[in-house]
């Protein structure tokens, strides 16, 4: 099989997988939020209500697509597409497992685009494009609430992108590479970045909550004051795409955090104990399980936090971003830099 065809197949699998995960997350979010509020949650459609997301998507598809009379039709259509496309595009550099060694000695990498030397930079760049989806959605709807939501979103993303980038820089300094596979390889054997970069991890975590517009940083869609924020004027599957993009973003953010701080698919001792050789299919399956185990913990954390914390006020959000996270990130870089310089 040519490598292009193989990449396309991998890409298709990754896309579908991410969309299924996003749908499953919607279900989990509703179920977990219910449990946290002494409720049961959706349990009628299918066994344990597992088919609820399917029913929701079917419903969204059959809904009327309403476009406001004065909306900018082009951008109104483009905005949800940008949102979901960016969320999914980030998956390409994520490595959920290492590689399979073929008989002729070539390595079959599991990541869609393995060994991209600017891998992490690509993720940061793509996540900044994500803001266009939301800002354009707010602007093109010709609705003051949507516009406010879009504006908030751009301000929030710019503020937190900085802190996120700074936190990541320190982790990248430790790993010495922007390539996702290298970053994971440098953490092999349990030397995960989270042990050396606890502050960086917290800053990155908080910033990625803001980047994915999740509570407590969901100001762009604050229901009480902005009706629905940027997606007020969207209906049917356009709204559905925003919704899916939120969860796809969550998944991507968790995958990135797993790669950067939790050692990716690395799990110390266990593969050796089980006798799994590097490059075998069994090892890859094991790594996939480890990777998605770590990602699910983070995903649960995302949901958990959303149903615990109230939304920040706008000035609190800006204060936290610029006056706490940014200095913390900077200090973290300086300390890490000094240690890396003097110790290595």
């Amino acid at each position: 099989m040519s490598s292009l065809a193989f990449t396309l197949v991998k890409g298709a699998i990754a896309l579908n997988f991410a969309l299924v995960i996003a749908a499953a997350l919607v279900y989990l979010e509703r179920r977990i939020s219910a449990w946290m509020q002494y409720r049961i949650g959706p349990n009628r459609v299918g066994p344990f209500g597992l088919l609820q997301p399917l029913a929701d998507v079917l419903k969204l598809y059959t809904k009327e697509d309403i476009v406001p009379y004065n909306a900018n039709k082009t951008f109104h259509r483009l905005a949800p597409i940008i949102s979901i496309a960016v969320a999914l595009a980030m998956l390409c550099v994520i490595a959920p497992a290492s590689y399979v060694l073929l008989e002729d000695g070539t390595k079959l990498f599991i990541a869609v685009a393995p060994n991209v030397n600017v891998g992490f930079l690509l993720i940061l760049a793509l996540s900044s494009i994500g803001v266009y989806g939301i800002t354009l959605a707010g602007w093109s709807s010709n609705n003051k609430y949507s516009l406010l939501g879009g504006l908030r979103s751009s301000a929030q993303m710019i503020s937190y992108e900085l802190a996120m980038g700074l936190a990541a820089v320190a982790a990248v300094m430790l790993s010495g590479s922007l390539d996702m596979n290298h970053i994971i390889a440098s953490q092999a054997g349990g030397r995960w970045n989270i042990w050396f970069q606890p502050i960086g991890f917290i800053v990155f975590l908080v910033a990625s909550f803001a980047e994915t517009n999740r509570a407590p940083f969901d100001l762009p869609e604050a229901e009480p004051e902005l009706v629905g924020g940027y997606h007020t004027e969207f209906s049917g599957m356009k709204f559905g795409l925003f919704y899916l993009a939120e969860y796809a973003n969550m998944f991507t953010a968790s995958a990135v955090m797993t790669t950067l701080y939790l050692g990716g698919y690395d799990m110390p001792f266990l593969p050796q104990l089980l006798g799994l050789q590097e490059g075998t299919v069994a090892r890859v399956l094991f790594e996939l399980a480890v990777f998605f185990g770590k990602v699910s913990v983070l995903l649960f954390f995302f949901i958990w936090v959303r149903w615990t914390l109230p939304r920040f006020r706008y000035d609190q959000l800006m204060n936290l971003g610029w006056r706490v996270l940014l200095p913390l990130g900077l200090a973290n870089i300086i300390v890490t830099g000094a240690i890396v310089f003097f110790v290595r």
Partner: protein
């Protein structure tokens, strides 16, 4: 620069401004709650049985020898929502009058219970039915066929009325 730091929020310490300890407390609470018993009632399977004091849809009391109602029309007069229509007719029984037609428009009824309160015969009482469904406006007008309920099923409400009315 004239900066005043008056409010308590502005005097928070660095750790408090980070919110982390409080967040951890909140997270612990929600996590514990996840495993607590749920309060949801699975409605169609698990039904709630109201007490005698509950004001469900008004029904007419049906005794062994026919309905109690003497068609005096008081309930119809008092009903604030103008939901009741009574047409009287004569009968050979002791009470001499009975309602030839008794209709309650359930789209109008506000479940106030005034009809029950005013009835001299205790012939119209509030039942325990709370899930009342219809598919059209015509269906929402309940005639005698739907209103008459055997007295045995209304004992609890009648006792409640005797005690508190």
């Amino acid at each position: 620069m004239n900066v005043t730091t008056n409010t308590r929020a502005e005097r928070m310490s660095f750790w408090e401004k980070l919110y982390l300890p409080e967040i951890a407390k909140g997270l612990a609470l929600t996590f514990k709650t996840m495993f607590k018993p749920k309060m949801t009632r699975q409605y169609p399977e698990e039904r709630w049985e109201p007490l005698g004091s509950y004001r469900g849809r008004p029904v007419l009391v049906l005794e062994e020898d026919g309905e109690r109602c003497v068609a005096c029309g008081l309930c119809s007069r008092v009903c604030p929502a103008l939901a009741i229509e009574v047409q009287a007719a004569e009968t050979a029984r002791d009470k001499e009058r009975y309602p030839a037609k008794f209709e309650i428009n359930m789209l109008r009824c506000i479940y106030c219970g005034l009809c029950e309160e005013v009835c001299p015969e205790e012939a119209i009482v509030m039942s325990k039915d709370y899930d009342i469904v219809f598919h059209s406006q015509e269906e929402a007008i309940f005639g005698k066929d739907k209103l008459l309920v055997p007295i045995a099923r209304l004992q609890e409400r009648l006792e409640f009325l005797r005690q508190y009315k």
